[in-house]
């Protein structure tokens, strides 16, 4: 009995402790009205990435706006770290990296550190330091070294930035705010942005305090031949393999018949 009371008390305390944390989630703030030029991107044969324009209304005129693009899915990638073995460069260790976003782009009118405190930035996961904190590394192979976290994070950042999956643009030209109220900007979705649901979140800060939050969902999906090929190769690999062989052999024979000389080898 005493034990139960005790647990209840602990539970109550925990709730009290959690409550303010919950109240601080962005969703509880005044909604920022936003609109996207479209909410669906289709990957077809000639897909080379896409661009979507976003518009929004700042709830507090003159407040700073920060926009973040992330994916619903989290990344779970394996990264190889190269090292020198004798005269050759080869993979010496591997890390499985989880917890980092698959795509991460930020637009703001001025540098983040002028808008919010480092603590707020970490709490809301705005900026690369927050991503580095969130990133988890599990050594799969090789020997860990203390400098690995920096090395792997920098390496991952470079890979992501080259694929145009990560970037932070702090430029009033890129995020225009008309008369402190209406803001507009665009996100480029690179070809490496694969199928899935993507979130575009708008944060408005007044003197470092969050005063508004809005969210748009963008979906990317393969259509037509692209969707069919991907699904078939992943879900019916044997059928896909046989089909690939038959199509290739059929085409080869056809070419042989057309050119009569019998192709090339």
């Amino acid at each position: 009995m005493k034990r139960t009371l005790h647990s209840l008390l602990v539970l109550g305390l925990v709730c009290l402790w959690i409550a303010p944390a919950l109240a601080a989630t962005p969703k509880d703030n005044p909604k920022v009205l936003t609109a996207a030029s479209k909410n669906l991107i289709e990957i077809g044969l000639s897909y080379k990435g896409d661009q979507i324009h976003f518009f929004g209304v700042n709830p507090v005129p003159g407040a700073d706006v920060v926009i973040r693009l992330t994916a619903e899915k989290e990344d779970a990638v394996k990264l190889s770290v190269k090292g020198k073995v004798g005269p050759f460069w080869m993979t010496v260790k591997q890390y499985e990296v989880t917890g980092s976003p698959f795509i991460y782009k930020i637009h703001s009118g001025k540098p983040l550190e002028q808008i919010i405190s480092p603590d707020t930035a970490r709490e809301l996961e705005l900026g690369y330091p927050a991503i580095k904190d969130k990133m988890q590394m599990h050594l799969i192979r090789g020997d860990a070294a203390p400098e690995d976290k920096d090395l792997v994070f920098k390496g991952m950042l470079k890979i992501k930035e080259e694929a145009n999956l990560y970037n932070i643009v702090q430029d009033p030209q890129r995020l225009e705010v008309a008369e402190g109220r209406l803001f507009k900007h665009y996100f480029r979705f690179p070809p490496a942005a694969t199928e899935g649901r993507y979130l575009v979140e708008s944060f408005c800060f007044d003197k470092g305090q969050l005063v508004g939050y809005g969210k748009d969902v963008i979906e990317i999906k393969k259509v037509g031949l692209e969707a069919w090929m991907t699904n078939t190769s992943q879900n019916h690999p044997t059928f896909f393999g046989i089909l690939a062989v038959l199509i290739a052999a059929g085409t080869g024979l056809l070419v042989g018949v057309i050119f009569r000389k019998g192709g090339h080898h």
């Binding site: 990264l79 694969t194 031949l225 190769s233 052999a249 042989g256 000389k261």
Partner: protein, 313 residues
């Protein structure tokens, strides 16, 4: 014009792929080799993930070789018995090779092993071919007249293998040898076909002529016949276990290589045999040096993405 490759998961210039297919087709038409050994590294250079490049090239080779095999079959140049035994070895080797790719990809060193095997193979083949063709050119200059190719001496290794059990007679090739011999050559080439995405013709044909002792034309016909089936097996296994066959990429490559091969064959008829061989040797050696440098020069990025095993994108 950009095209999105569904399995490679990337957008690439359509004409770049057609152009590479055309170039390799041109070279294979000119030199009479499959060209898979050039195609895979070229694909990797333009950013196709190595495993997807190798698997899709195997798929492309099925098509390229089947058109040649069909023509040789009509001319009666295929030794089916020999081909089937080599094929049995090829399927055995291909199966081992695909599992090897799976293990190596998971360990993150697939690219390294692939490049080392490439450097060794290409360096050996390119070097030998360069020396042989250079000697022929020098000799023909000295004598002022074209030198007939020296008759192939009866291979010593072939005689040794003929003493092993499971001896068989091969009617079309006009020889008797142990079945173990073509089977083990098939196995080795099968493993390489999976590792490198090559048909293996550039190793197989010399092996059949110089080691087994088959007539050249029967060697080429039989080789093409077994390449169709070996690379079909590799394609199927890659699709089943690694899910890395990009059919769209293979089809574009095929389109380019078919056209290129026709032009290559036309130019090839105007050049002398040793001129063609020395040209091929130089290309192969340049490629070898490039891949070798990749292995020893400090990479610009120490951290790289390791593709997840079995993941297709």
């Amino acid at each position: 014009m950009e095209i999105y490759l569904p399995i490679a998961g990337m957008s690439i210039n359509f004409f770049l792929v057609i152009g590479i297919g055309g170039l390799v087709g041109f070279l294979s038409g000119l030199f009479g080799v499959g060209g898979g050994f050039l195609l895979t590294p070229l694909m990797m250079m333009i950013g196709i993930p190595p495993a997807v490049a190798a698997a899709s090239d195997s798929n492309q080779i099925v098509a390229a070789a089947s058109s040649g095999a069909f023509a040789h079959w009509r001319l009666g140049n295929v030794d089916f018995k020999m081909g089937l035994i080599i094929l049995a070895g090829g399927i055995f080797g291909g199966t081992i090779g695909v599992q090897l790719v799976k293990v190596l990809r998971a360990a993150g060193n697939f690219e390294f092993v692939m490049k080392v095997v490439y450097v060794l193979m290409l360096g050996l083949v390119g070097g030998a071919m360069f020396m042989e063709s250079l000697r022929t050119i020098l000799r023909s200059k000295k004598q002022g007249a074209a030198v007939e190719t020296t008759a192939v001496s009866e291979p010593k290794l072939g005689r040794l293998f003929a003493k092993l059990p499971l001896k068989m007679h091969f009617h079309r090739s006009g020889l008797s040898t142990s079945a173990i011999f073509p089977f083990s050559i098939g196995t080795i080439v099968g493993i390489m076909a999976a590792l490198l995405g090559v048909g293996g013709g550039f190793i197989m044909v010399p092996a059949m002529i110089y080691i087994i002792g088959m007539p050249t034309i029967a060697a080429i016909g039989t080789d093409l016949f077994q390449i169709v089936l070996t690379s079909a097996n590799v394609t199927l296994q890659q699709a089943m276990f690694n899910k890395t066959v990009d059919l769209l990429l293979a089809l574009i490559l095929l389109f380019g290589s078919t056209i290129g091969a026709q032009f290559g064959a036309i130019v090839g008829r105007r050049l002398k045999g040793e001129q063609i061989r020395i040209l091929l040797a130089v290309i192969v050696l340049v490629l070898t040096v490039k891949i070798f440098l990749d292995l020893v020069i400090t990479p610009s990025d120490l951290v790289s993405l390791a593709p997840a095993t079995g993941g297709g994108h």
